[in-house]
């Protein structure tokens, strides 16, 4: 969607709940997917996704068009919520062991259990994510956005509110640190 068209859509979403609902339906899968790939835990991903959209709604009325797409704005909120989560829960980094732990018994929905089983199958991804989570947040963000969300440098810069040069630099240093983590294992 072109930025102009999106600007009109956001304006309408402030008045029409159906449009807001459509925006939500369109963006939920990518935001939930991004958060899940960052935290590698379904329950945490659900909580952070809820926080992201609640915050987006709260700020919707004040949302002023600054030539940043709505989706990038949502990614930004999601990144901030993930950062908040990690700051508050320094010791609860997702790890392969955490993913393989049984689901908490207060949440017995079949859907969640099946999703958890499905997540376990992505062993390569989980092993990779375990290493990425050991990096400082600023590197985690750029690496995940670049390689897991397949975002271009320009898009990452828009999401994180940084210059493109800074993003390239962070990516380069982040990859170096990640390589060190892998090399330390071997």
């Amino acid at each position: 969607m072109k930025l102009n068209e999106e600007k009109e859509l956001i304006k309408r979403a402030k008045k029409d709940p159906k449009i807001f609902g459509n925006l939500y339906d369109e963006n939920y899968p990518k935001i939930f997917g991004y958060i899940l790939k960052r935290v590698a835990n379904l329950e945490i991903a659900q909580d952070i996704t809820s926080e992201t959209f609640l915050k987006a709604l709260k700020n919707l009325w004040q949302f002023r068009w600054r030539n940043i797409s709505f989706s990038s704005w949502l990614y930004r909120i999601a990144s901030n919520e993930i950062a908040n989560f990690f700051r508050k829960n320094k010791n609860k980094l997702a790890s392969l062991e955490k993913v393989l732990e049984p689901i908490s018994t207060h949440n017995p929905l079949t859907e969640i259990i099946e999703a958890q089983e499905k997540l376990k199958e992505y062993k390569d991804f989980l092993a990779l994510q375990e290493k990425i989570l050991q990096l400082p947040l600023k590197y985690q963000e750029v690496i995940c956005l670049r390689f897991f969300e397949k975002k271009k440098i320009r898009e990452i810069a828009e999401i994180l509110g940084k210059k493109e040069g800074t993003v390239k630099s962070l990516l380069h240093r982040g990859l170096e640190k990640l390589r060190e983590k892998f090399n330390a294992t071997f």
Binding site: D16, P29, T49, L109, D124, F125, L175
Partner: protein, 256 residues
């Protein structure tokens, strides 16, 4: 590990594409519920901001904040709680309705329950007393705050605004030029009637001694065109504001 190997690994690793539909649905309901409340607060604030000088706003805000500490927020929450415990309202919510609005008047509360915007509810099993010919469009519950129970609940027949001749002509024109209508409705079919569609989204307003149900958005204007040919009928729904056809369907044969 070389950098290019690491990049290759990052690019080629299979990524989880997992969704939890129940979370998506539940979150949407919560968001839409909050949407109406936040929208109203923001509209009021916007009006104040334009009309009243900044210093006065500050004073008003201080008064509002102090008032809000002892205020009807408690009663609103109490009313919601009582409504949610009523089995009839609980059933509606389980089938996809939301509490759209709550107003307090003296020692009574009025709760407006409607289908979630943009969704269709399964209305077959809803008690017939709460349904109109068009299905479940909404219900208004009166709550006795002292007795802490729903004293009565009645179905809503949402209002519609009458159609001017120009509007009917406009609807016909939009329909005539629509490819879907041309495809589904036979050319020889005649227009039997053009009727306004009731406002789908409503809210409550408090007047002196009563609470009234009014449309959420006055800019909504939809009509239905009923076509007939050889005892068969079709219906087209037209949005006069967006100037488009929202849907066409075959209604079946008219019963004698």
């Amino acid at each position: 590990m070389e950098e290019e190997n690491l990049i290759k690994k990052l690019e080629e690793t299979s990524l989880p594409e997992i969704e939890i539909p129940s979370h998506k649905r539940k979150l949407k309901q919560i968001l839409l519920d909050k949407y109406f409340r936040e929208k109203r607060n923001w509209e009021v604030f916007n009006v104040l901001r334009k009309v009243v000088p900044v210093g006065a706003i500050a004073i008003v805000l201080i008064i509002l904040i102090s008032y809000s500490l002892i205020s009807p927020q408690y009663s609103l929450a109490k009313a919601r709680g009582i409504a949610m415990r009523d089995p009839r309202i609980k059933e509606l919510i389980e089938r996809g309705a939301v509490i759209k609005d709550v107003k307090i008047l003296k020692d009574k509360a009025y709760v407006l329950v409607q289908p979630l915007a943009g969704t269709e509810m399964e209305t077959e099993e809803i008690k017939t007393g709460l349904k109109t010919e068009e299905g479940f469009l909404g219900a208004l519950a009166e709550i006795d705050l002292k007795e802490k129970k729903v004293s009565r609940i009645e179905k809503l027949t949402p209002p519609s605004s009458p159609l001017a001749e120009e509007e009917k002509e406009k609807a016909k024109e939009i329909a005539e030029n629509n490819p879907e209508i041309r495809r589904i409705v036979p050319k020889e079919a005649e227009i039997m009637e053009i009727i306004p569609v009731p406002f789908s989204q409503l809210r409550l307003i408090k007047e002196k001694n009563s609470v009234r149900v009014v449309p959420e958005q006055i800019e909504e204007k939809r009509v239905r065109i009923i076509y007939e040919l050889n005892k068969n009928q079709w219906e087209g729904e037209i949005d006069l504001i967006e100037e488009k056809v929202d849907g066409v369907k075959f209604l079946g044969e008219i019963e004698e």
